[in-house]
Point group: C2
Chain length 335, copies 2
């Protein structure tokens, strides 16, 4: 019996099966017909995504000894929140493409897309609360965790906007911003999953530490991608960060370790005064010569190692394996 159960869990907890399960449930709930508000939500949610955050929620429940089979609504809820931030981000940046298709506001116009984002946030709440098989106190706690995570994402977005063009901001400030903007939702997904699954406090904390390190490592590597890949795998152009004057992790690390002459060239590369392709080329050269590129890659790998270590003692081995795989993927997107 124990063996059979482990097999079933192992099968379910491979990444492609879980993503398919989540996508199927998404398609069951949403379509691109019907009332316009639902259409927009369906349009945003049914674009093929990695379902990373919902997977983390389900895996955290299983890894900490819980049963994830009744937590599908909670997993979708996290994705609603994530997609809501993407819909609103795309309006702010006026990006035309997302996941290979026109963005929601490009397709439906800005006013309705703005409302669609709000609608997704509110659906996050009602969908999470569908998990009525969960103990009410745990469900309330998970709702608190996810709402706080969402607020933290907002704080991070506002801080990021305030850092544009500022090479003078410290690496610490940047890391704090990233912990909010990117880390908070990973953290919320893992914590909520563990809490909903009824995990012991030390196991909730273990998945939380995992998520925090994963978030930092994920974003550090994301920041490196434009300067690493010949063909970038992020879906955004390699020049996007310099074009938007974003002082990302390797840039700040490089700037802070650079001598005066090089600092001047960093400033030039992030000034917006050169064509984006030239800025990008100069920045890449600076990151290589200052050693910032290599240092950042090492730092990202260290965070991922810490993420892996955090969950080494959790009881649900199949789900832990999935969480380890997700951690590895965070610093090797071509896998």
């Amino acid at each position: 019996m124990a063996n059979a159960e482990t097999c079933a869990t192992a099968a379910q907890f491979s990444s492609p099966e879980l993503a398919e399960l989540l996508n199927r449930e998404m398609r069951r709930r949403w379509s691109t017909v019907g009332e316009r508000t639902e259409q927009m939500a369906g349009y945003a949610l049914l674009a093929p995504g990695k379902m990373l955050r919902p997977m983390l929620l389900l895996a955290s429940a299983e890894a900490t000894g819980g049963d994830s089979s009744r937590l599908l609504p909670a997993a979708l809820a996290v994705e609603y929140l994530h997609v809501a931030t993407l819909v609103h981000d795309d309006i702010v940046d006026d990006d035309e493409l997302r996941r290979g298709r026109p963005t929601v506001h490009t397709h439906f116009g800005v006013p309705d897309a703005l409302v669609a984002g709000d609608f997704l946030i509110l659906n996050m709440v009602s969908t999470l609360l569908e998990c009525t098989a969960v103990r009410p106190a745990a469900l309330l706690e998970a709702a608190r965790v996810l709402a706080t995570a969402g607020s933290d994402v907002c704080r991070g977005q506002v801080r990021e906007a305030g850092m544009v063009g500022k090479l003078s901001c410290s690496v610490d400030d940047y890391q704090e911003m990233v912990a909010l903007k990117t880390g908070a939702l990973f953290r919320g997904a893992c914590r909520a999953g563990a809490i909903l699954g009824g995990a012991a406090t030390e196991h909730v904390e273990a998945t939380t530490r995992y998520a925090e390190h994963l978030g930092v490592g994920f974003q550090m590597f994301d920041d490196l991608l434009p300067y690493l890949a010949v063909t970038p795998t992020t879906g955004k152009p390699a020049t996007s960060d310099v074009a938007n004057l974003r002082p990302t992790f390797p840039v700040l690390v490089g700037y802070q370790s650079a001598r005066d002459a090089d600092r001047h060239r960093f400033t030039e590369a992030l000034s917006g005064r050169m064509p984006a392709a030239d800025s990008h080329r100069l920045m890449r050269e600076l990151l290589i010569t200052t050693g910032a590129l290599e240092l950042s890659r090492t730092r990202a790998a260290e965070e991922i190692a810490k993420a892996r270590e955090s969950i080494s003692n959790l009881p649900g081995t199949a789900a832990v394996d999935l969480m380890l795989t997700i951690a590895d993927l965070a610093i090797d997107r071509n896998r």
Copy 2:
């Protein structure tokens, strides 16, 4: 004892005292200094408002026999949701003033204001969940009610945008839209208040009916205001509705009862081809000659009478009195 208690409740449940209590709590929680995200939320929340929805939540708890003293966070939560929709509405309409001050996006820029709206929605959830003295099942139910109310507001906003310039839409469609856009939050506030106060089902339903009629009557009268007042009390210019090509309640009632020649003039008034002041003057004349103005006023008063009737048998007399006063104010804003 019973007498003393009634007095205390009666004193607390007059509108100015309650509004002051709510505003004081708002000032205790928010300021316009500190982190930028909190600054924006504080800026939006500390503008002097009527606090209608929070008052309805507290009054519904008391009117149905509950104790509202521990529900202050829930009352604020409803206001957060309301203000979030205002912040986003102002972005969409690019309105520069709200409650006599620059709107959030005028003051802080569109990107950050958009995030501030999201932040307020998420704070709605976490603040509601501060009501830990409430039974968990009731708290979960109230969270469901408010999230659904918020989703309904979104649906209503999208429907309203789809009706712009359309004199052909039916009065029924319009009323459905209003029940979502305006009514849902009144309904959510009253229902959540009654549920959080531990009301019996029939009392929850009574406050719900009250809120539904109040919402319809409130919006009908709001639609009339530009054509009634010499000095409008809504804060928006009297020409705003025709300038934005909105087929409001009296306009649809008038159009549908008009003969062909008058229909042509309605179309002209809502075409956007005339200066707004001329359109407004023509529309006002049409609403008077077709009798639509008088009919709409009667219909609004009927809704308010039904709202009043719905709560006539509730036990908490002082709070019921406040709810009756709020209902009367809905069709007489100069009181």
